[in-house]
């Protein structure tokens, strides 16, 4: 977790619900502050669940809900949490939400849940989740925390989807399970393996950095 340092609390006097600062909380993680491509967090699951679009979409939605809600809840009780046990409390809240999402998937999206298998439970160990709670939600009000969580979840989800488009199209010749490239197309085996995700994510990082003019410090 490279963003361990607590970020400056945002001063809110009469900041409107979707004021400029709050909108930034949502939009920044999508590009300039993307958790995957800029902070290089959550790579493990991004490699594992991006073979096809559909599981990637469910994973993206699941992570967005979990990061958003746990940030919100932690922020609500941030003044009650004893500092010495704060990590345990954060884990407990996040774990509860992860289990609920896992159970919901098992009940209403069984096929997807089978494909994602252990990676839903592993959302708990996703650096983005604890990173956002510890670095943002512990020091900010509930509404900005919720937006920050959703923004980061969506930022992660966006990269997941971009990666999945390339991997499914090149690896299986389909998108969302619909054959696009015809039966004569022979899938690229590398794209099905996690290595394929490494290449795609690497290229995405490169393109984004070239566009935003990123320099290694």
């Amino acid at each position: 977790m490279s963003t361990e340092s607590i970020e400056q609390p945002i001063k809110q006097k009469s900041e409107p619900l979707f004021g400029k600062k709050n909108r930034k909380l949502l939009s920044n993680p999508l590009d300039a502050d993307n958790p995957v491509t800029v902070q290089i967090l959550g790579i493990c699951s991004a490699l594992a669940v991006t073979v096809q679009m559909k599981p990637a979409l469910f994973m993206a939605v699941g992570v967005t809900i979990i990061v958003g809600l746990s940030s919100f809840i932690i922020s609500l009780m941030r003044n009650l949490i004893p500092n010495r046990v704060r990590i345990i409390v954060q884990l407990m809240v996040a774990a509860t939400l992860v289990v609920i999402i896992d159970q919901l998937f098992k009940a209403y999206a069984y096929d997807i849940s089978k494909q994602l298998s252990v990676y839903i439970s592993l959302i708990l160990t996703n650096c983005i989740l604890l990173g956002r709670i510890e670095a943002f939600a512990m020091g900010n009000k509930p509404w900005p925390s919720l937006l920050d969580g959703i923004g980061n979840g969506a930022g992660y989800g966006a990269i997941l989807m971009i990666t999945a488009v390339f991997r499914e199209l090149l690896g299986s010749g389909s998108l969302f399970g619909y054959k696009l490239l015809g039966s004569s197309y022979i899938g690229n085996g590398v794209m099905i393996l996690p290595a394929g995700a490494c290449f795609v994510i690497g290229l995405v990082v490169w393109m984004q950095r070239a566009r935003n003019g990123y320099r290694e410090e």
Partner: protein
């Protein structure tokens, strides 16, 4: 906040634990029926999948077809019919017992006249990382395989996990589980892969007891072979008994 006392921390943690436990218990209990229904539907799909194409069927169609066609029975190793409900037998549990002590479910598929159309036998085993399982439909000649459905829990995606694909299952179609003398033999997945799809099926056209392998998944293939060997020998008495009928 001022430095919290130990008792505050204790009470805080206990309250939080109890609260999340209650929430989780509630969620788990209220979603259980839907989850169990999913698992049962999955099983029905697999059983039906050995002789019809279920990929386009709705939930209702599958339940209806299963109810009209499938007659589950449970037999012992020496083919004695056991007075047990199929739903009480868990193949994954029986798998851990000695071959001769296993309770063996058979899903008999009946046609409209009440004649035996296929016998669908469950398979269970262990692949490279985790459990693998499947179903195999045997024709009434108790010799040729009509179709199989294979599935896995944790094989390597793109390598071993390919065993669950339809094109792998298709390789087993029409294979024979009896040798020239009529003894039950197993189907052996070979090492290496000849090309996939139709090429793989063609390559073993004249080999009634062999199918093409999974490239890069030798240990998964070993598990599949062990699973077939295990269960075909467990069901030998049943297969012989039905043949005499």
């Amino acid at each position: 906040m001022p430095k919290p006392t130990n008792s505050y921390i204790l009470i805080f943690m206990i309250t939080l634990s109890v609260l999340s436990a209650v929430i989780l218990a509630f969620v788990s209990e209220s979603l259980k029926p839907a989850q169990i229904a999913n698992i049962e539907l999955e099983k029905k799909k697999s059983i039906l999948g050995t002789f019809v194409d279920v990929s386009q069927m709705s939930k209702e169609e599958i339940n209806k077809l299963y109810a009209t066609k499938v007659k589950p029975i449970v037999v012992s190793y020496d083919a004695k019919s056991l007075e047990l409900k199929e739903s009480d037998v868990d193949v994954s549990e029986e798998y851990r017992k000695e071959l001769k002590e296993r309770k063996l479910p058979v899903y008999q598929i009946m046609n409209d006249k009440g004649e035996l159309e296929y016998s669908v036998l469950p398979l269970y085993g262990h692949g490279l990382y985790d459990d693998i399982w499947g179903y195999v439909a045997i024709n009434p000649d108790m010799k040729t395989i009509n179709g199989v459905v294979l599935d896995n829990k944790g094989e390597t995606p793109g390598l071993g996990a390919r065993m669950s694909e339809k094109q792998i299952a298709d390789r087993y179609k029409g294979k024979s589980i009896r040798d020239d003398k009529g003894q039950v033999v197993t189907i052996v997945m070979q090492k290496g892969e000849r090309g996939g799809g139709e090429v793989s099926i063609k390559a073993f056209e004249n080999e009634p007891h062999q199918v093409d392998g999974l490239s890069g998944a030798t240990n998964t293939a070993k598990g599949i072979n062990k699973m077939f060997e295990d269960y075909l020998s467990a069901y030998t008495a049943y297969l012989n008994l039905e043949l005499k009928k």
